[in-house]
């Protein structure tokens, strides 16, 4: 399969008042053409920073210490800002978390969509407008001709997110990065937007990176999943690998703390004790060790490498070391997965 994007050993820190915050500590992942990669993790785990590095829209106080980002064989980090302006929009499109503040409040919607086409692709105005209308229809905006001349405040949240998607698609990018695109929307609108992204991806054969902390969304959208914790990827695999055969204790905890349809009123949800580490002083060993019920002595001393589970499945936990004691995932999670597998079989069979 053709790799469209490859990130290798990325290290990023932020110069903050209190010192250097090590936000990304050696992240490597790749994205194949036409697939959807979900990056999940709690707030502050470095999901957004990683993708901002890919699109080079990091804030000024962020420093990329190390690493390589290759897009279609081009080294993105070595490019000048001017060269990179041709990657943004043309090759990589970005969808933001908060559509309410992502649009310029005093510019007409139509103009915001045609802007890049006219300024960068030197498209004639008429043609650009026709294309914008086409895009607005494609993302499901009724009365596109009329709404073309309206301002963002005249649109609802869901409609604005559709506009943001239309803007991202305007110059036909091949890679679409969605940074929590549904977090700011209510649930019914959420599923509409997710369906829209899915549909667009199929139609245009886009590669998609989907950032979220909503595991339900992941299961629905992704082909492969990267689980991030404290600036590192701790587990990587296909959706099936992650949801049916998770190996990292952090992934176990995440899955177990998510309610499902079988959760009853009195049931207690699993809680991950403690808080994520302070990234001013990242811990020496496995960053998750202090919150990990299964932590061993070595977890506090040395960082675990990525252990291979299968060709598609990797996890960074010492539990996978041949010398480690055999540890199973928590019983209730195992039970839950078994039930889900049965459901899936019924559904498929």
């Amino acid at each position: 399969m053709e790799r469209i994007l490859e990130v290798k050993d990325l290290h990023i820190h932020f110069n903050a008042f209190a010192g250097a915050v090590k936000a990304i500590r050696g992240v490597s992942f790749h994205l194949n053409k036409g697939e959807t990669l979900a990056i999940v993790g709690e707030s502050g785990s470095g999901k957004s920073v990683t993708t901002k590095a890919v699109t080079r829209i990091l804030p000024d106080n962020a420093v990329i210490d190390n690493g390589e980002i290759t897009y279609k064989g081009m080294d993105l980090l070595a490019m000048t800002e001017k060269e990179f302006n041709n990657i943004r929009g043309n090759e990589i499109g970005l969808i933001f978390q908060d559509p309410l503040s992502a649009l310029d409040p005093v510019m007409k919607i139509g103009k915001q969509i045609t802007e890049t086409l006219i300024l960068k692709q030197k498209m004639p105005k008429k043609e650009a407008e026709a294309r914008a209308l086409e895009l607005m229809k494609a993302v499901g905006i009724p009365n596109a001709e009329q709404r073309f001349h309206e301002y963002p405040f005249q649109f609802s949240g869901g409609m604005r997110q559709r506009i943001v998607i239309a803007i991202a698609l305007a110059s036909n990018p091949q890679l679409l990065i969605c940074d929590e695109p549904t977090t700011a929307l209510d649930v019914t609108i959420q599923s509409q937007i997710l369906e829209l992204i899915k549909k667009i991806q199929k139609e245009r054969n886009l590669s998609v990176i989907f950032i979220t902390h909503d595991l339900g969304v992941v299961a629905n959208m992704a082909d492969r999943v990267d689980v991030m914790y404290a600036g590192k990827i701790v587990e990587e695999g296909t959706v099936e690998d992650i949801f049916y055969d998770p190996k990292h204790p952090y992934t176990w905890s995440l899955l177990a703390s998510m309610p499902n349809l079988d959760t009853k009123g009195g049931d207690e949800l699993m809680v991950i004790p403690g808080t994520p580490p302070n990234m001013l002083y990242p811990p020496k060993g496995d960053a998750f060790a202090p919150r990990n019920h299964y932590a061993m002595k070595i977890d506090f001393d040395r960082e675990p490498p990525m252990f291979k589970v299968s060709d598609t499945h990797y996890a960074a936990t010492w539990l996978l070391h041949p010398d480690a004691p055999k540890v199973e995932m928590p019983a209730h999670l195992k039970h839950r997965i078994e039930l889900q597998l049965k459901e899936a079989e019924k559904y498929n069979g």
Partner: protein
């Protein structure tokens, strides 16, 4: 919109009426009388009779209002005896206007440029230097500036004349030369105000999400700053710039006095000093009109430049 404007104009008229009444009575509280000290009693009586000052105060007030409503603003008593007040003010406006137009032509571009530079280069030496200038200008009153400049450039260096040249009413190079210092003295405050506003507004706009979006769709930093950040940061600036345009007419009492400029500002102080009742009231009325109109214009301008107010008033359609 029309209804809104009518409402505002009505409110304005009421405000002006209150200001007028207050100034009518307040002016009588100032010590001194129109005839001046040591004037013959006959003269005093004659003057008072001419200006209805021998009648009870309330009756005077009624006469005054009646005249005012028929656009008879009265005559000057002492400063320019018997000349209609309206004429005096009309004759003073051009001088003040001339000076202030130059000052504004200096203030707005420099203020905007400094503000934009400071926001774009925030936390660099450029920003620090501009901020230092702003603090300096804001904390030193214009009359100190004016006197210090007069001392250095007129007295020590002898580059400029002390006072404004008045020989010919037409515009000449030497007249412009004599106007430079007053123009500068009038401009410093405004420059700092605009710089401060511009810096704050633009900095906020530069860090907004829509700037991130415009960057992510491939616009260069220059393009997104010009097309998005500046547009957005100019809207709140109406608040500062429109009143400045209106104040073109008003002039500055202090600076005009220091440089001997026969404008509205110096007229105000002179009329108060000479107990020229009707002239003082008329000047105060003139100032009130200016500031009330500029407030109205500011509010209306938001409705024109900001589509959120112009079209919606916040309505969202599904």
């Amino acid at each position: 919109m029309l209804k809104y404007i009518l409402k505002r104009v009505a409110a304005m008229a009421l405000t002006l009426f209150i200001i007028l009444s207050l100034s009518f009575f307040a002016i009588r509280l100032i010590p001194g009388d129109i005839a001046g000290q040591g004037a013959a009693p006959e003269l005093k009586a004659a003057l008072e009779a001419r200006y209805h000052l021998d009648k009870p105060l309330l009756e005077q007030y009624v006469i005054f209002l009646k005249n005012f409503l028929s656009f008879d603003f009265g005559e000057s008593i002492n400063l320019y005896p018997r000349r209609p007040v309206f004429q005096i003010i009309r004759d003073k406006i051009p001088t003040t206007l001339q000076l202030n137009i130059f000052s504004l032509a200096l203030t707005i571009p420099i203020g905007l440029a400094c503000g934009i530079a400071a926001a774009l280069k925030k936390n660099t030496w450029v920003d620090y230097a501009i901020s230092a200038m702003v603090v300096f200008n804001v904390s030193i009153p214009s009359f100190v500036f004016a006197t210090v400049m007069q001392y250095i450039f007129c007295y020590k260096l002898e580059w400029f004349p002390f006072l404004l040249e008045l020989e010919d009413s037409s515009f000449s190079l030497s007249k412009f030369w004599s106007m430079i210092l007053p123009i500068l003295a009038l401009s410093f405050g405004g420059i700092s105000t605009i710089t401060r506003y511009m810096r704050a507004e633009l900095f906020e706009a530069l860090n907004s999400e829509y700037m991130l979006l415009s960057k992510s769709k491939g616009l260069s930093k220059l393009q997104s700053t010009l097309r998005h950040a500046l547009r957005n940061s100019f809207i709140p600036l109406c608040n500062v710039i429109i009143p400045m345009f209106m104040n073109l007419l008003g002039g500055s009492m202090v600076v005009e006095n220091i440089f001997g400029i026969p404008g509205i500002g110096s007229l105000t102080s002179a009329s108060i000093q000479t107990s020229d009742y009707y002239l003082t009231i008329a000047v105060l009325f003139f100032y009130s009109c200016i500031s009330l109109t500029s407030m109205l214009l500011v509010d209306l301008s938001y409705g024109i430049v900001d589509p959120r107010i112009r079209i919606g008033g916040g309505k969202v359609r599904e």
